[in-house]
C-alpha cells in the first residue's frame, strides 16, 4: 500500500465523520486524484467494501484510517501549539508526517500535549492507547497549572484559552510557552513566580495554562529549551 492508498482511506474516514461517504464527497476531500484501480486494490487488501455509490471501511481499513487521522491531527496540534505555524504550513507538514509517524512516537506527542481531544481546527483526534492508560503516566503528562502542587516548578508548554482575548492577556503578561514558573499559592488566587515577576491569576486562567512539571532544585530560572526537553 502506498501513500495514495493511505490518502483514500483517510478521506473515507473524514467523509464518514461528516455523515456522507459517497464517491463525490470522498473525492472532494482527497488531496490526490484517485482512480478505480486504487479503490479495487484497497478492496483486494480487505480495507474497504462498497454499496452503490457509497464506500465503507472494513475493520482492518478503519484501524488503518484511524491511525492515519490520529497521526495527522496530532502532528497538526504539535505544529500549532509548539511551533505556532499557520494553517497552510501545518497542513503541508502534517500530510507528510501522517505517513511516517510510528504509533509509539504519536503516543509520545499525544502525551506531551496532554492527550488533546481536538486538533486546532476543532476536529476530533481519535484516542490512542496512551489516552486510555494516561492515569498510569500521570507523572509524565502535561497538566493544567490549576493542578500543579504548591511549591513545584513547571514549564509552560502551551496555552489553550477559551477565547482569544484571554490568550492576548496571558501573552502580554509574559506567560508564553517555554517559561518556567513556580506556583507558591493556590488559594484564594493562584500566585506564581517566573523570571523576576510575580503574578496572581484566577482559576479560569490557571486551567488554560498547560504545564509540564519539572523536578530538581533549579533556583535560577533557566532559559527555555525546546518543549521536547520536558519529556523524561
Amino acid at each position: 500500500m502506498n501513500h495514495k492508498h493511505e490518502e483514500i482511506l483517510e478521506s473515507i474516514w473524514v467523509a464518514s465523520e461528516s455523515g456522507s461517504a459517497t464517491m463525490e464527497t470522498i473525492r472532494s476531500r482527497c488531496p490526490d486524484e484517485f482512480s478505480e484501480e486504487g479503490l479495487l486494490r484497497l478492496e483486494e487488501l480487505g480495507h474497504l467494501t462498497h454499496s452503490g455509490r457509497e464506500l465503507f471501511l472494513t475493520q482492518k481499513g478503519k484501524h488503518k484510517a484511524r491511525t492515519l487521522v490520529r497521526c495527522h491531527r496530532l502532528a497538526e496540534s504539535l505544529l500549532y501549539t509548539v511551533f505556532a505555524l499557520d494553517w497552510e504550513q501545518r497542513e503541508a507538514l502534517a500530510c507528510q508526517a501522517e505517513h511516517t509517524l510510528v504509533p509509539e512516537l504519536a503516543d509520545g506527542i499525544c502525551t506531551l500535549l496532554g492527550h488533546p481531544t481536538e486538533c486546532p481546527d476543532g476536529k476530533p483526534i481519535p484516542p490512542g492507547v496512551c489516552c486510555v492508560t494516561q492515569q498510569q503516566m500521570i507523572g509524565r503528562q502535561v497538566i493544567p497549572l490549576s493542578e500543579l502542587e504548591v511549591g513545584s516548578k513547571a514549564r509552560i508548554l502551551f496555552v489553550k484559552p477559551k477565547n482569544y482575548d484571554r490568550l492576548h492577556e496571558i501573552t502580554i503578561v509574559g506567560l508564553t510557552p517555554g517559561v518556567v514558573v513556580t506556583l507558591y499559592q493556590r488559594s484564594p488566587t493562584y500566585c506564581l513566580r517566573f523570571d523576576g515577576t510575580e503574578l496572581a491569576v484566577d482559576h479560569r486562567v490557571a486551567q488554560d495554562l498547560f504545564v509540564c512539571p519539572i523536578s530538581g532544585d533549579h533556583d535560577a530560572p533557566s532559559p527555555p529549551p525546546s518543549p521536547a526537553h520536558c519529556r523524561r
Binding site: 494553517w87 492576548h168 501573552t171 499559592q185 484566577d202 533556583d219
Partner: protein, 690 residues
C-alpha cells in the same frame, strides 16, 4: 503648549516607574498626579518650570534637553517668557520641552477602545521623542513594548529601571549586548532612583531612531509592504499604521477613513482582509506572538541568570499578605495602623493641638480684631458670623481641620501605594469581590475611594467590563467616604463611644455588600479574568511619600478653599434673605419626620453638596444641636446620598447622562430609606450612643 515646543513621551508597562522618573526629571515644576492606570489627560510637566524660578540646580539637571533635538534640524529659539532668573542670560537658546507621563500600557498595537494616552499620542504623531521605561525584572515584557514603539521611528532612549531589584532576584544583564540588540542608548536605573545623572544628560543627547525590527510571519510582512506603499503621507510612519490596521486598532481605522480617499482605504482594507484569511487565529494574536518571540530572544541573549538568594523579610511579608490564612489578619492590622495614624494622631492629637494653640489662641482672635473694625455690618458678618462666616466656617474648617487630617491620610495612603501591598490585597480579595460582580482588580478603585471618589471613578477604567465599571461606580458613590470626608467623620465620631463608629462603618460596609450582591445579580454580563502582576514589596521612601502628600494636600487646598468660601458665603446670603429658614420648613417632613434630624441638618446637607467634607466639617460646628444618634444618621446619609460636584461630573462623563441620573436617583432614595431604617432601628432598640 506652543507650537515650537517639543514633546517627549515617557512610555512603559504598568508600574515600571514612569511617574517616578517623570517626577525626578521635572522636579520643582508643576504637575498633577492621578491614580495609576487612570491618567485620562496627559500629565504634562514643562521642564522650564525649574529654570523659570531661577533654580540653578534644576537648570543643570535639565540642561540635556537642548542636545536631544540637535539631531533633528529645526530653528531653536529661546522660549517666549521662559526666563526671568539670572541663569536665563547664560542659557543657550533652547526649545521648551514638555514631558508627557503616559499611562501604563501593556500593548501599544492591539486594542483601541480604551484610552491609552501612550498609544493616542503616538497615533496622533504628537510625540517627538520617546523614553521607554523597562522593568529589569520583566525584561521580556518591557522589550515587547519597546519593539512596538520602534515602529513609530522616533528618537528613543531605553531606561532599564529597577535593576537593583532584578539583581536581588538573581538576574544580571549584559548591557553592552542589550544596547547592540535594541540599537538605542540604554540607561540602567535603580528602583525609585532620584539622581538623574550626568550620564543621563549624555544619553539624551544621543537619542537615536532604533533600527531593530520584529520579524513577522511572511504573510504579515507581505501585507505590511503592500500597506506601506498605499499609506504614504500618513501622519505616522506607514508601516506603523499598517501594523495597527492589521492588529485591528480602532483609532487606526478611523485615521484610515479621515486621512485617505475612499479608494485607498478600500484597497488597504482588502489587504488586511487577505492577511486575515491566511491565518486561523486573529491577526492580533499572530502579531503579539511575533513581538513577544523577538522580545524573548533579545531578553535571553542579554540576561545572565544567577542563583537567587533566599526570600528576604519583605518578600516573605509579600507572600503572607496574599496568603489565605495570614492575609486577612494583615489587612486588619493595616486598617488598624491607618486608624491610629490618621484617626488618632492626625484627627485628634494634631488637630486639637492646632485648634488650641494656633487657631483659638492666635489666628481667630487676630482675624476678629482685624475685621471687627469693618464699617459695614453685612460685610463684617460675612466674615465673622459664627455659623456662616468665612473665617470660622471656611478658613478654619479647611486649614485647621481638614488639611492636617488629610495630610496624615495622604502619607498613609502613599505609604500603602508605594509599598506594593495593594496588588496583594487584590489577590487576596479576588474571590470575595466576585460575589459583588467585581474581580481582584476592583480593589484598586475601591481603595482609591477612600482617597477621592472622583479619582476612584476614573480609575474604575482599569476594570475590563462595563458591568464591573458600573458596579464599582455605584459602590463608590453609595458607600465610600473620601479622605477629607473620612477625616472629618473621625473627628465628629471621636467624642462618641466606639459603638457609634462601629454602627456607622458597619452599616456602610453591610450595605456595600448587599448592594454589590444585588447589582451583580441584576446587571447582566459575566465576570472577567483576573491576571495581576504582584510588584515586589519595598520599603517606601519616606521623603517621596511626604513630598507627594504635601503636593496632594496643596492640590486639595487650591481646589477646596474657594469652594469652602463660596459655600459659606452662599449660605450666609441665603440665611440673611430668609431662604434657609424656608428650606428648613420645606424639608422638615423628610428630615425630621423620616430621618429624625434637627433643622441645622439643612445647612450641613447644603454644604455637603458643594463639597462632601465641607458638610461634615459644618457638622463639627453645629454638633451641639444634634444628639449622638442624629450625628451618626447624618454622617451615614451624607456618605451614601450625596456625591460632590466633581464626582457627579466625572460620573456623567464616564457613564453618560441616562445612567448617571438613574444611578444618582436610586442612590438618593436608597440613602433616605436606609438612613430612616438606621434611625428607627436604633430608636426601637434604645441605642442612643450616649
Amino acid at each position: 503648549m506652543s507650537c515650537a515646543s517639543k514633546t517627549i513621551a515617557i512610555v512603559g508597562n504598568v508600574g515600571v516607574g514612569k511617574t517616578t522618573l517623570c517626577g525626578h526629571l521635572c522636579k520643582g515644576s508643576r504637575r498633577s498626579r492621578t491614580a495609576p492606570g487612570c491618567r485620562t489627560e496627559f500629565v504634562e510637566a514643562s521642564l522650564d518650570g525649574a529654570a523659570r524660578r531661577g533654580d540653578s540646580k534644576g537648570w543643570r539637571r535639565l540642561s540635556w534637553r537642548d542636545g536631544l533635538f540637535r539631531a533633528r534640524a529645526h530653528a531653536i529659539d529661546a522660549a517666549p517668557g521662559s526666563g526671568s532668573g539670572p541663569e536665563t542670560d547664560r542659557r543657550p537658546a533652547s526649545t521648551p520641552v514638555t514631558l508627557v507621563d503616559t499611562d501604563g500600557a501593556a500593548c501599544l498595537l492591539v486594542g483601541g477602545e480604551d484610552e491609552s494616552t501612550g498609544r493616542n499620542l503616538l497615533l496622533a504623531g504628537e510625540a517627538d521623542a520617546l523614553v521607554v521605561v523597562a522593568d529589569a525584572k520583566n525584561l521580556r515584557r518591557s522589550l515587547a513594548l519597546f519593539l512596538q514603539t520602534c515602529e513609530f521611528q522616533l528618537p528613543t532612549v531605553l531606561v532599564v529601571n529597577m535593576i537593583d531589584e532584578a539583581q536581588r532576584l538573581g538576574l544580571q544583564f549584559d548591557l553592552p549586548r542589550l544596547v547592540a540588540a535594541v540599537t538605542v542608548k540604554t540607561e540602567p536605573l535603580k528602583a525609585g532612583e532620584g539622581r538623574i545623572t550626568e550620564r543621563m544628560a549624555v544619553l539624551f543627547d544621543q537619542a537615536q531612531i532604533p533600527s531593530v525590527r520584529v520579524s513577522y510571519p511572511e504573510q504579515v510582512e507581505k501585507a505590511l509592504c503592500a500597506l506601506a506603499e498605499l499609506l504614504g503621507g500618513a501622519p505616522i510612519p506607514p508601516r506603523a499604521l499598517g501594523l495597527l490596521l492589521l492588529a485591528g486598532n480602532l483609532r487606526a481605522q478611523q485615521m484610515l477613513e479621515s486621512e485617505f480617499d475612499a479608494e485607498t482605504a478600500d484597497k488597504a482594507r482588502a489587504v488586511v482582509r487577505k492577511a486575515e484569511q491566511a491565518f486561523r487565529v486573529p491577526l492580533y494574536t499572530v502579531i503579539t506572538s511575533a513581538v513577544y518571540a523577538t522580545a524573548e530572544r533579545i531578553a535571553e541573549q542579554v540576561t545572565i541568570y544567577r542563583a537567587a538568594p533566599g526570600a528576604d523579610l519583605l518578600q516573605r511579608f509579600g507572600h503572607y499578605a496574599s496568603h489565605p490564612l495570614f492575609g486577612l489578619p494583615i489587612a486588619l492590622l493595616v486598617i488598624l495602623a491607618g486608624y491610629y495614624w490618621v484617626g488618632v494622631l492626625g484627627a485628634t492629637i494634631v488637630v486639637d493641638y492646632l485648634r488650641v494653640h494656633l487657631f483659638d489662641a492666635l489666628l481667630l482672635p487676630a482675624c476678629a480684631r482685624l475685621l471687627g473694625n469693618l464699617p459695614w455690618t453685612f460685610v463684617r458678618e460675612a466674615f465673622l458670623d459664627p455659623n456662616f462666616g468665612l473665617v470660622q466656617s471656611a478658613l478654619f474648617l479647611a486649614l485647621g481641620i481638614v488639611l492636617p487630617v488629610l495630610f496624615f491620610f495622604y502619607t498613609f495612603f502613599g505609604f500603602l501605594e508605594d509599598s506594593g501591598y495593594l496588588p496583594r490585597l487584590s489577590a487576596l480579595l479576588d474571590r470575595s469581590l466576585r460575589r459583588l460582580g467585581l474581580t481582584g482588580q476592583g480593589v484598586l478603585p475601591l481603595v482609591f475611594g477612600f482617597s477621592c471618589i472622583t479619582t476612584a471613578i476614573l480609575s474604575a477604567r482599569v476594570l475590563r467590563t462595563q458591568k464591573e465599571r458600573l458596579i464599582a461606580s455605584f459602590l463608590l458613590l453609595s458607600g465610600f467616604p473620601c479622605a477629607p470626608m473620612l477625616a472629618v467623620m473621625l473627628l465628629v465620631l471621636e467624642p462618641l463611644p466606639w459603638t457609634a463608629a462601629a454602627t456607622l462603618f458597619g452599616t456602610l460596609f453591610v450595605q456595600v455588600l448587599i448592594t454589590g450582591i444585588l447589582a451583580n445579580a441584576i446587571i447582566p454580563g459575566g465576570g472577567s479574568d483576573f491576571i495581576l502582576e504582584l510588584s515586589p514589596i519595598r520599603m517606601p521612601r519616606l521623603r517621596a511619600v511626604l513630598n507627594r502628600a504635601r503636593q496632594q494636600s496643596w492640590q486639595f487646598l487650591k481646589e477646596a478653599l474657594p469652594a469652602f468660601m463660596a459655600a459659606s458665603f452662599l449660605l450666609f446670603v441665603l440665611d440673611r434673605l430668609g431662604g434657609l429658614a424656608a428650606l428648613e420648613r420645606f424639608s422638615r417632613p423628610v428630615l425630621k419626620g423620616v430621618l429624625g434630624l434637627p433643622e441645622q441638618s439643612v445647612q450641613v446637607f447644603m454644604k455637603t453638596m458643594i463639597r462632601r467634607e465641607n458638610g461634615a466639617a459644618e457638622l463639627t460646628l453645629v454638633r451641639n444641636h444634634f444628639t449622638s444618634l442624629q450625628l451618626v444618621v447624618t454622617l451615614f446619609v451624607m456618605t451614601v446620598m450625596l456625591p460632590c460636584v466633581n464626582s457627579a461630573v466625572v460620573l456623567l462623563k464616564e457613564q453618560g447622562i441616562k445612567v448617571s441620573v438613574l444611578l444618582l436617583l436610586i442612590i438618593g432614595l436608597y440613602a433616605l430609606l436606609v438612613g430612616a431604617g438606621l434611625n428607627w432601628g436604633c430608636h426601637a432598640l434604645g441605642i442612643t450612643f450616649q
